[in-house]
């Protein structure tokens, strides 16, 4: 019953840590919050969620929006029954994001999956090797990336 206040608490904390990197937030219901941030804030955001709120990284979803990628980090706060999705965008040309694997080891495979399927580079990933595609798959082709 207190989930709405949990969302408010979470949003306030993120707003104070991220400053102008925090953009806005929206909720569908008391179990789903979408927090929009600038991509530079993701590492601080993960630190707050994982270390202070005990959140668990469920997965990362990338969406091809033709000129940019939307990337959603779905964090689950089990005690509160809340999924907080941290949403950010990166331009399609030279798409890159900061890796969070050193803060949150569970992101290792997920970041590599996104890198392989969409061509979003995760800067600072400890083992950014080939992962999904076969060894002779062309370097600049990404299976889930739209062409054009």
């Amino acid at each position: 019953m207190h989930t709405l206040s949990h969302i408010a608490l979470l949003v306030e904390k993120l707003r104070s840590v991220l400053g102008d990197r925090f953009q806005r937030y929206s909720t569908i219901n008391e179990r789903r919050a979408y927090v929009y941030i600038r991509k530079e804030g993701i590492r601080d955001c993960v630190r707050v969620l994982f270390d202070q709120f005990g959140a668990r990284l469920s997965t990362i979803s990338a969406v091809d929006r033709n000129f940019k990628f939307d990337v959603l980090y779905h964090f689950t706060l089990d005690q509160e029954g809340l999924v907080a999705s941290v949403c950010l965008s990166t331009p399609k040309q030279a798409a890159s994001l900061d890796s969070v694997t050193d803060i949150l080891p569970a992101a290792n495979w997920i970041e590599r999956e996104v890198q392989e399927l969409f061509g979003i580079k995760f800067v600072g990933h400890p083992s950014p090797g080939k992962l999904l595609t076969s060894d002779d798959w062309p370097e600049d082709e990404y299976p889930l990336r739209r062409i054009g």
Binding site: I28, R31, R32, Y34, R56, L57, S58, T59, S61, A62, V63, D64, L72, H74, T76, D78, Q79, G81, L82, V83, S85, L104, P105, A106, N108, W109, I110, R112, E113, L117, P126, S127, G129, K130, L131, L132, T133, S134, D135, D136, P143, L144
Partner: protein
């Protein structure tokens, strides 16, 4: 710590039920390190899902996994229902709960049988599978299929549960298998030979479990009290209630016990759900495709399954993202297996109940970064291709 030998297991190996490749680095009998390579059952389901209509996708995602085949369509439908703002009829929520719990019983018994087989106790294996069989027969009567039940659709379920005939069959079968499950649980915990084989093996600490974000029985055996059914009740779990089983040792014995206790709890959940199931329609016809985001979460037998759907108002979703529970659990094999004896390797691998079909709707390689020089998957793959060039 020196590496004396490397031992490949798989991708096709008599001990493995699905294709995967484990490269064990050994110092004598002791496992120093492991490198995991998956990617032999990749089917591109996310790509396909983004080219099909909403009505077709439940049938597609049902084929992600052959064991927990109810989980993925239920999860997908919940995500779409959230995005479109649909309230599922009460009776459909109860039917989803009953089918989901029946599936948990058969999945946990299947796993327990495989684990018994791995430790060389084939009598126990046959007993577990003997009692799994009646559950599959219930499915055949309820849905027409032993697997791939096709029960879920967006807005509800496709088949009703007959309040007299089906209910009587389910209750009678459950009351028959319950005493056997209690007996089999004793066979695991009280048999000194079985206990010696699985106790203190493959330990995953609570801290490691949290860092790797493992889910399901693997997390609950390591002391993390997480269960989607309790934390974010979907279907009818809010009304029916769930007693979450949590143990703290984090070894193979704990994982076994968590699963067996959960199978017993599932029987109670089904009984409560059958008692409380309300009358009414079982599905609701969606009137409009609404643009928006939806997240579906289901506690699969192996842990939290999550689907993310972005609807753009057309009859084909813009994005379907699927993350099966084994995707989070398989990386936890590495910390568990280091320092273990070679003879325990297959048991430790099996004990996370890895579902490679689920994990490999995308494919994965985990290479231990600290010793990159000794890991040469690419050359292995190259030499395999060189050998098979003529094919």
């Amino acid at each position: 710590m020196s590496i004396e030998a490397t031992l490949p297991i798989g991708p096709y190996h008599p001990a493995l039920k699905e294709p995967e490749f484990f490269k064990l680095f050994l110092d004598g009998e002791k496992i120093v390190d492991v490198a995991i390579r998956l990617g032999y059952t990749h089917r591109g389901i996310e790509y396909l899902a983004q080219r099909k209509t909403y009505n077709e996708i439940p049938f597609l995602v049902e084929r992600i996994c052959g064991i927990c085949s109810n989980v993925h369509p239920m999860c997908f439908c919940q995500a779409v229902e959230e995005a479109w703002g649909i309230q599922v009829p009460d009776r459909a929520r109860y039917i989803r709960t009953i089918v989901g719990e029946l599936e948990r019983i058969h999945s946990h018994l299947l796993w327990a049988g495989v684990a018994a087989h791995i430790i060389g106790y084939d009598t126990l294996f046959m007993h577990f599978w003997k009692h799994r069989e009646p559950v599959c027969e219930i499915f055949e009567v309820l849905t027409g299929n032993r697997q791939n039940y096709a029960m879920n659709c967006i807005g509800g379920v496709r088949r009703d549960i007959d309040p007299t005939k089906h209910k009587a069959l389910i209750l009678e079968t459950l009351s028959q298998i319950r005493p056997s499950l209690v007996r089999l649980e004793k066979a695991v915990t009280e048999d000194p030979v079985v206990r010696a084989r699985i106790e203190n093996i493959g330990v995953l600490s609570k801290d490691q479990a949290r860092k790797l974000c493992v889910v399901g029985p693997v997390a609950r055996a390591s002391g993390l009290a997480i269960d989607v059914r309790k934390d974010e009740p979907y279907a009818a779990y809010k009304e029916v209630g769930v007693d979450v089983k949590v143990l703290t040792e984090g070894d193979v014995l704990s994982r076994t016990l968590v699963r067996l206790l959960e199978a017993l709890e599932s029987i109670e959940i089904i009984r409560r759900a059958l008692d409380a199931i309300p009358q009414g329609p079982i599905r609701l016809e969606p009137k409009q495709i609404v643009p928006g985001d939806g997240i579906g979460k289901v506690e699969a037998p192996r842990g939290e399954d999550i689907h993310y759907v972005r609807s753009n108002g057309t009859d084909i979703p813009e994005r379907v993202k699927i993350r099966a529970p084994s995707y989070m659990n398989v990386p936890s094999i590495a910390p568990q297996i280091k320092g273990a004896s070679l003879a325990d390797a297959s048991l430790i691998i099996a004990a996370v109940d890895p579902c490679f079909c689920c994990t490999e709707r995308i494919a994965i390689v985990d290479v231990k970064t600290k010793r990159e020089s000794s890991v040469d998957f690419e050359s292995l793959a190259r030499s395999w291709r060189r050998k098979n060039k003529h094919r």
